[in-house]
Amino acid sequence: MKLRTMRLLSGQAVRSLKKTPSVTSIIVVMACMIVLSSFMLVAVNLTHIGSQFQADVQIRAFLVPDLPSDAVDRVGGAIQGIPGVASVRFVGKDEALQRLGKQLGQDSFFLADLPRNPLPESFDISLTRADVADEVAAATLELDGIRDVRYAPKLVDRLVGVLRILWGVTGAIAALVLVGASLIVSNTIKLTVFARRKEIEIMKLVGATDSFILFPFVLEGIIIGLLGAGGAAAIVYAGYQGVVKWISSVAPFMSVVTDSSRLGLAVIVMLCFGAVVGLIGSNISTKRYLKV
């Protein structure tokens, strides 16, 4: 399509936006996008908290007593080779005792009276993801030289489960918004199509191409979607900044996503989603009513 033609058709789309009740559609799309983006932000933040928690999830693998140092190195290397293992750190008997002392705090006095150090040597295993904990623990336990493994499987499972549900709900809302908002946009475009049906009939008769006929309607749909998503992004962004300030004052220990690159990405995703909503909506109405 020629640039001059695109300018002409874009002008038609903008004029049509002023004539049809597009403001209603923009507001409805905006409301849908606010709900979706709010859920998305909650999910993103819980995932952020979860990923921090995942970084803390560790498996402790206890070695059999009196294992020679070359065997300890071999076991350490074998653990490092298990998929899902981020890092492995050897904890000797002395360090284990110090650590226990720290944990016990004031009650650690009795440790000094022990005739010998009863604690076993161990490996602290950090994971790349929390949901691989079961597999890594099982694979570690099978290694020669490992007596036992300890980790918090239920906590890990629960966290992974909550995140899955949350993203599932967000996905379902995204699908509903996609369908609902597309239908709203479609209804608005339908009005334009109806108002211009005579013009469209003549266009078809004199040999206008499908893309020429469809372009202004599709553009109108995309503009509605983008304006709705843009409005929602502005409102949610401003609201989120307020929530972040409030959280930092009442619960400063809680970590929330504040970096502008990730929030900018979220805005871009919302705008793209709005454009897709407009594209689908305009296609529904034009395909069904134009039959071009």
Partner: protein, 228 residues
């Protein structure tokens, strides 16, 4: 130019509009399609510009089978065919000039081409002096002339006219027919459906008569009715 072989058209509800139509129209022909209402005239015409496709049989326009045209090829076919209707189908919010230029704008003609061709088409139909008038300011015959200008502005090979004089008084109808004859004399094939006996009998062109979807008469210099 137009060839129809064993063409059937059945609409939903098992309504048979055409039943085994065979028809050949050569380049430069002027053909009247006559017959009672519901005999299939409009369906036959719409197949020429692919407003309908046959349920059975073949329709060839300029050697191309219209049923086998790809979707993007249909607009290209229509650019070579001008179509006019009884109700003119003008855009009421655009001037005479803009109604005619619209046909060129939508096929992305250059502004230079539009500036050259639109006045030519308006002169051809005798409306150059009313280029800036709005359709509602024109009489019925003048509105049909605008529709004809729009149909011929892109120099079509075929002009399809579906009862173009149906809304006009006898004198104005004859003026329109003179115009269509001029267009035909310049080499454009004209296929026209009509109920106007006077016009058909006066002009003595080829007449194809349809009845219940079938061609019952095809005469080279025919009249509206059978002649003894």
């Amino acid at each position: 130019m137009v060839n129809m072989y064993g063409v059937y058209k059945v609409y939903p509800g098992n309504v048979e509009a055409l039943r085994g139509v065979n028809l050949n129209i050569d380049k430069g022909d002027f053909v009247f399609i006559v017959g009672p209402s519901g005999s299939g005239k409009s369906t036959l015409l719409s197949m020429i510009y692919r407003g309908a496709v046959p349920t059975r049989g073949h329709v060839l326009v300029s050697g191309r089978n219209i049923a086998r045209l790809r979707w993007h090829e249909v607009p290209m076919l229509r650019r070579r065919i001008g179509v006019i209707f009884q109700d003119y189908k003008l855009l009421p919010d655009r001037s005479v000039y803009d109604n005619v230029s619209f046909a060129l704008e939508v096929i992305e003609a250059s502004p230079k081409e539009i500036e050259k061709k639109v006045p030519q088409a308006l002169s051809m139909v005798g409306l150059a002096h009313k280029a800036s008038a709005m359709p509602e300011e024109l009489a019925g015959g003048e509105q049909q002339r605008v529709a004809i200008a729009r149909a011929i502005v892109n120099d079509p090979l075929i002009l399809v006219a579906d009862e173009p004089t149906g809304n006009l008084d006898p004198d104005t109808a004859l003026d329109i027919m003179d115009l269509l004859c001029d267009i035909n004399l310049r080499g454009t094939t004209v296929v026209m459906a009509t109920h106007n006996q006077v016009i058909v009998d006066t002009m003595r062109k080829r007449v194809v008569q349809l009845e219940r979807g079938m061609v019952v008469r095809d005469e080279r210099w025919g009249a509206y009715c059978y002649e003894a």
